[in-house]
């Protein structure tokens, strides 16, 4: 199987900050995503991975060499301008 063959598919790398970083120093973790999913759905899947508190407010940040970009929750991954291989930080 070749997940990335499908044009709608991408792989993204995420991490929950700052709690996780401070204690464990973890790097990004990988997951499969879809260009047509909403950024909110993506956020929920990330929070599920960490079993994190869904009632908190989170900032969703896209890391780029040129600088960070804030990602809003009511758009698709494609509309947000995400690319295959992107690094995302979820900040409580």
């Amino acid at each position: 199987m070749d997940y990335l063959k499908d044009e709608n598919h991408l792989i993204v790398w995420f991490v929950l900050r700052p709690e996780i970083e401070k204690e464990l120093g973890t790097s990004y973790l990988g997951m499969r995503a879809r260009y047509n999913m909403t950024t909110n759905e993506l956020l929920q899947e990330i929070l599920d991975t960490y079993k994190a508190d869904k009632d908190k407010n989170y900032r969703f940040v896209l890391k780029r060499a040129a600088g960070d970009m804030e990602i809003s929750l009511n758009q698709t991954v494609r509309e947000a301008g995400m690319r295959n291989g992107d690094c995302l930080q979820v900040i409580a």
Binding site: D2, Y3, S27, G30, T49
Partner: protein, 500 residues
């Protein structure tokens, strides 16, 4: 008539033996010599300090082997493995077995490549000697763990593991990187940075640790392998000097290679810091002290002082590696601990004496690292990562190295290339990536391959099938069957009794 001395004999056996090709352009016979921009004016000046002819080489190597195998035989015949102070030591030996032996093997190809492509007589015999030495090392190491495999887990599928385990991409990519460089760069990569700088720490302090915990077999492996390395180092050192003296235009090229390969080898050796600071229960030396001795003293304050006259300065990120001294082994052990459920060598629960030594030797350990390891005290998998990690695009280690000036923040760097974001673990790796992004964008990344579906849909079962091992060969050492078997073996030999 006067008898020939060693120097004259060596000269007669190795010099002026190759005829100049009259019908072919030298650059067709040696197609790679001009590709790196290196200028050679008078290669006949080059000298190999070891100056060994064939019969001397085989006599010496044969004696070395005889000496080593006698030690190995005695150790094996006398249940040596049961007599080490703590069986967790063998998890460290597995790291070595799994990562170093394929590196040795691939180094033979690299040296053959160098010998074939550089038309300098003085180094020809030396490079082929080295190619055979590397095969010698690979075979000694396989023989060593063939026996150990009767008692310890994780080694029985070593060829498969070398091919498919995520951890192995670290040493493999280093050698692929060197082998796909030009022949002069390859020689500098291996003979200088790998052999001269870092194999000392691997084979000597680690051998010392082996001796301290009672693994005389492994101590002997270290010393016999490293005795060949002396010859390799000398080859690299004399090549380095000759290249710098041939022409001033070589100097910036060499400096660029020293910058790249110092940092590249330094990151690859990160796991060795854990073999010195964590795996041995009795520790004769720390990574910090070994680094100070072998890298700061012998390399920065020794070799690089001597190279100043050519206009060479310290490697670009030398200062960063010095700053990381206080952190290196702890950070690396932390990374390994998070993924010990999915690796071919286990982690282990730190014991009170471990915490004490680490705390005494490293002033920052209690504040920055002890809390992490303490989480394992009641649940050995408390720190297991909930997912699969992003790695540095250059060194291929999970990008979890902290900024030593600010250890609660990671040092992760971001680069833009070809409409994609690439991460590296540190400024050192970022610099390497940005010099040759087209090279590093081509890596094979097991985690990405797994996410893409390349080894099935079941994360744990799929991974273990892929590497040829079973999940109970991973995890935590003291709770494993391997440790239980070791205790039982000792009971059987009467070693569980304490007489003093």
């Amino acid at each position: 008539m006067a008898k020939m001395g060693i120097k004259e004999k060596y000269h007669a056996m190795t010099r002026d033996l190759m005829w100049e090709p009259k019908d072919f352009d030298m650059n067709r016979v040696y197609p790679l010599i001009e590709k790196e921009g290196i200028i050679l004016k008078n290669p006949s000046r080059w000298e190999d300090p070891f100056r060994m002819a064939y019969n001397q080489y085989v006599k010496i190597q044969s004696e070395k082997d005889g000496i080593y195998h006698a030690v190995r035989n005695a150790f094996e015949a006398n249940d040596g493995h049961a007599k080490v102070v703590d069986s967790r030591w063998y998890e460290g030996v597995k790291v070595f077995a799994n990562a170093v032996q394929p590196a040795e093997y691939s180094a033979h190809r690299l040296m053959a490549y160098v010998g074939r492509n550089i038309p300098i007589e003085a180094i020809r015999f030396a490079t082929f000697n080295q190619a055979i030495d590397e095969l010698r090392h690979a075979q000694i190491e396989i023989k060593h763990y063939a026996h150990m495999s009767k008692e310890i887990d994780g080694l029985h599928a070593f060829a498969n593991t070398s091919q498919n385990l995520w951890f192995n991409t670290v040493p493999k990519s280093f050698f692929d990187d060197a082998m796909t460089a030009g022949p002069f760069e390859a020689l500098m990569a291996i003979s200088f940075s790998f052999e001269y700088v870092f194999t000392n720490i691997l084979f000597l302090p680690f051998a010392s640790s082996a001796g301290a915990v009672g693994d005389e077999n492994f101590a002997a492996v270290g010393k016999t392998v490293q005795s060949d390395e002396s010859r390799h180092m000398a080859l690299g050192m004399s090549a380095l000097k000759m290249l710098l003296e041939e022409d001033d235009r070589n100097i910036p090229i060499i400096q660029g290679w020293l910058d790249k390969w110092y940092w590249r080898a330094y990151r690859m050796f990160s796991v060795v810091s854990t073999l010195v600071d964590y795996y041995p229960r009795i520790r004769p030396i720390s990574w910090k002290k070994a680094f100070e001795m072998y890298v700061e003293e012998q390399v920065f304050n020794g070799l690089f002082k001597d190279l100043r006259k050519y206009g060479i300065r310290l490697p670009k990120h030398a200062e960063d590696s010095i700053k990381e001294k206080e952190h290196y082994s702890h950070v690396t052990m932390r990374i390994l601990d998070q993924f010990k459920h999915a690796n071919m060598f286990r982690g282990f629960q730190l014991q009170p004496d471990d915490y004490e030594w680490l705390s005494n030797e490293y002033p920052l350990f209690d504040e920055y690292y002890a809390p992490f390891f303490r989480r394992n005290d009641h649940n050995v998998f408390a720190n297991a990562s909930p997912g699969v990690p992003a790695i540095c695009q250059v060194c291929q280690i999970p990008a979890e190295f902290p900024d030593p000036d600010n250890p609660t923040k990671l040092w992760t760097q971001y680069s833009e290339y070809n409409n994609k974001t690439y991460i590296t673990c540190s400024p050192g790796c970022k610099h390497i990536f940005e010099q040759e992004p087209f090279k590093y964008m081509q890596i094979w990344w097991p985690v990405e391959a797994y996410l893409n579906g390349e080894f099935g849909e079941d994360p744990v079962a799929g991974l273990f099938k892929y590497i040829g091992l079973s999940p109970n060969e991973a995890g935590e050492h003291y709770s494993s069957n391997e440790h239980a078997r070791w205790l039982e073996y000792r009971r059987h030999l009467g070693l569980d009794k304490k007489f003093f």
